[in-house]
């Protein structure tokens, strides 16, 4: 996709956000809505400026959005699965799975290194957050039984 097309989409998205915010803010009582409404209008105006500038510009140059699509998809997919699993498996088990599974998925082929690293790293996190700072972290669902 060219930078021109990207800027058209970008400007359109910001204009939509700004207009939506201004419309929603218009419904707030009294002075509560004036400031966000004004900001929504500014965001929309600047978005339209970016959009208009892109429309009026030349054919545009290629601008890469994602350097390596499959790796980005693997990373974001795994990260999303991890966030979804944290409340189910608990923070430490989910984190250990992430640290063990993601590097091989990205092409790292040293399983012993991965396992040792995962054990050391999760151990340090446990020591800092659970022992030293005593921060409560999500526990596995079965711990409730």
């Amino acid at each position: 996709m060219t930078d021109r097309r990207q800027d058209i989409v970008l400007g359109g998205v910001f204009a939509a956000i700004g207009i939506s915010a201004a419309v929603i803010a218009a419904g707030y009582p009294g002075a509560s809505g004036v400031y966000p409404m004004a900001l929504g209008c500014v965001v929309a105006a600047l978005g339209l400026l970016v959009l208009g500038r892109a429309v009026l510009s030349g054919p545009g140059k290629p601008r890469i959005l994602i350097d390596h699509g499959p790796r980005v998809a693997i990373t974001l997919g795994t990260a999303a699965a991890y966030l979804g699993l944290v409340p189910v498996l608990g923070f430490y088990l989910a984190s250990a799975l992430l640290v063990v599974l993601l590097p091989p998925a990205l092409g790292f082929r040293r399983p012993v290194f991965v396992l040792v690293n995962a054990a050391v790293f999760v151990g340090i996190v446990w020591l800092v957050f659970s022992i030293v700072l005593e921060k409560p972290l999500p526990t596995p669902f079965w711990s409730a039984y």
Binding site: D3, P36, H68, F91
Partner: protein, 494 residues
């Protein structure tokens, strides 16, 4: 003279010294860990200080504050993850330096710059602080509003290559800052019926997402399975020769003055000081294009600026009872815990304690050279020796734990994730992220200030421009916004 000896005697006793050293080490550690921040650390610390002597408690606060402000530079340089919001500007040149194998040099520059900024700030607090603090009494809501706008315009225009996109990002940040309960009327705004949104979008959650996820994705895209060797990092070899120190002197002096000036303005924090110092160094440079590509002056300016804000932010807090930032507010909390009322009377009623805290701010700034320069920096620098693909899940875990412990909510993890994806895309289309973050920080202050100004003037908007100081700030803001247009017009004409 007796008072000075009394203060030094109290501060240099075993308890306060141990507290300062321990807290400085802990501070660097906290600042260096993405997701942990000095605000959280000091907030956690406050309940523990009930049973301590005031100077032990305040020494710990000073150590964590100064240590963490330097510590934030460590992941900023090594991983492009600002450990604290004030370290965002450090990523611009620190990370490119690390990428070309100059991580240790960048860390050394950050260490010295932080110490010098902190010392300058503490000296300002001890000497000209009370005088400068009196000047802030002239500020009304209109001035506060324009200070926020000036900061936003400065960042929007100066950061990034496209001023329109920068301003657009700034406006979006200000808009995001309105999410939650309206502070003045209590009306929920943009909450869509979600209770967790009533308190607004958490800055640290957004910050971690915006600034940590894009480099994680970049690491995954690069798929480095070897990692840097120890020789690549040059950690042992880095020194700061006298010629470098001489070259950094003008930058340090300029940044220290900016940091101190920003610090005494309530509401403006180390992040603004760092950005303004960075922009000033860029403007003053004979080679401004090299900024953002690993210019050491950029690291020196950002780190000196953000640490020069530290003690200076205590000036309005201690003299007027108005916290310059969240940490200053926590210091006020520490004083109240010990039955001390911040304000002008504090200097008359407890000169030993106030003076002692000022000296502690100075000493903990100097401690950065020992603590940050030798131990912690080298420990944390080792993370770069791990293969990039190993760092990807580890950073994700640190992001998750850091974000979760703030409010103990799983939803924050998803907000962080969404912010990170947005940050990744926005960076790719040349929209700078810093103005969004700054908008989130300054937005509530800007709104409250403008609404208070209008309330005072019974709705007359000219109140925002009629006072000389507010008019000057408004003109400066306008000039900043118009400058890129004038520059483009001139370029077109030429």
């Amino acid at each position: 003279m007796d008072l000075i000896f009394d203060i030094l005697g109290s501060v240099l006793a075993v308890g306060p010294v141990t507290a300062m050293i321990g807290a400085s080490i802990l501070g660097v550690f906290i600042g260096a860990l993405p997701g942990l921040n000095p605000v959280m650390a000091i907030a956690l610390l406050l309940p523990l200080t009930y049973s301590m002597q005031p100077l032990v408690a305040l020494g710990m606060v000073a150590g964590i504050y100064n240590g963490s402000m330097y510590g934030g530079a460590i992941p900023a340089i090594l991983l492009r993850i600002p450990g604290t919001p004030a370290a965002i500007a450090t990523t611009y040149d620190g990370f490119p330096m690390a990428q070309r194998g100059e991580a240790a040099r960048a860390l050394k520059i950050a260490c010295w710059s932080s110490a010098i900024g902190g010392v300058a700030s503490a000296i300002a607090l001890m000497t000209i602080g009370p005088i400068l603090a009196r000047a802030t009494l002239l500020f009304g809501p209109a001035e506060y509003f324009w200070i926020a706008m000036f900061g936003m315009a400065s960042i929007g225009v100066m950061v990034g290559s496209d001023a329109v996109k920068g301003l657009m990002a700034a406006a979006l940040g200000l808009l995001l800052g309105t999410v939650g309960l309206d502070q003045l009327s209590g009306t929920p705004r943009f909450t869509f019926g979600e209770i967790w949104l009533l308190s607004g979008l958490d800055l640290i959650v957004i910050l971690v997402g915006l600034y940590a996820l894009p480099p994680v994705i970049a690491l995954a895209e690069a798929a480095d399975i070897k990692g840097l060797s120890a020789s690549d990092l040059k950690l042992e070899a880095a020194k700061l020769p006298w010629s470098d120190i001489r070259a950094f002197m003008p930058t340090w002096l300029r940044s220290a003055l900016i940091g101190i000036s920003v610090g005494i303005l309530p509401g403006a924090g180390g992040n603004i000081a760092a950005f303004l110092s960075y922009n000033a160094a860029k403007s003053a440079s004979s080679d401004p294009d090299s900024f953002g590509k690993g210019n050491p002056q950029g690291v020196a300016a950002a780190e000196c600026g953000n640490n020069a804000d530290n003690a200076a932010s205590m000036i309005p807090a201690l003299t007027l009872g108005i916290p310059g930032n969240v940490i200053a507010a926590l210091v006020l909390g520490a004083l109240l815990i010990h039955g001390l009322q911040p304000g002008p009377q504090l200097f008359h009623q407890n000169p030993g304690l106030v003076g002692g805290f000022m000296v502690q701010m100075l000493l903990t700034s100097l401690l950065i050279l020992a603590v940050g320069g030798a131990a912690a920096t080298r420990v944390f620098a080792q993370v770069q020796r791990l293969p990039g693909v190993m760092l990807v899940p580890m950073i994700l875990v640190l992001m998750a734990v850091g974000v979760y412990v703030i409010n103990g909510r799983v939803i924050d993890l998803w907000v962080m994730f969404a912010a990170g994806i947005a940050g990744y895309v926005l960076e790719k289309v040349n929209v700078p992220l810093a103005p969004i973050v700054l908008g989130l920080i300054l937005g509530p202050m800007a709104e409250q200030s403008v609404r208070r100004a209008l309330l005072i003037s019974r709705g007359d908007p000219t109140e925002l421009l009629t006072r000389p100081l507010s008019a000057a700030l408004a003109l400066a803001t306008l000039a900043l916004i118009l400058w890129p247009i004038v520059r483009a017009w001139r370029a077109q004409k030429a």
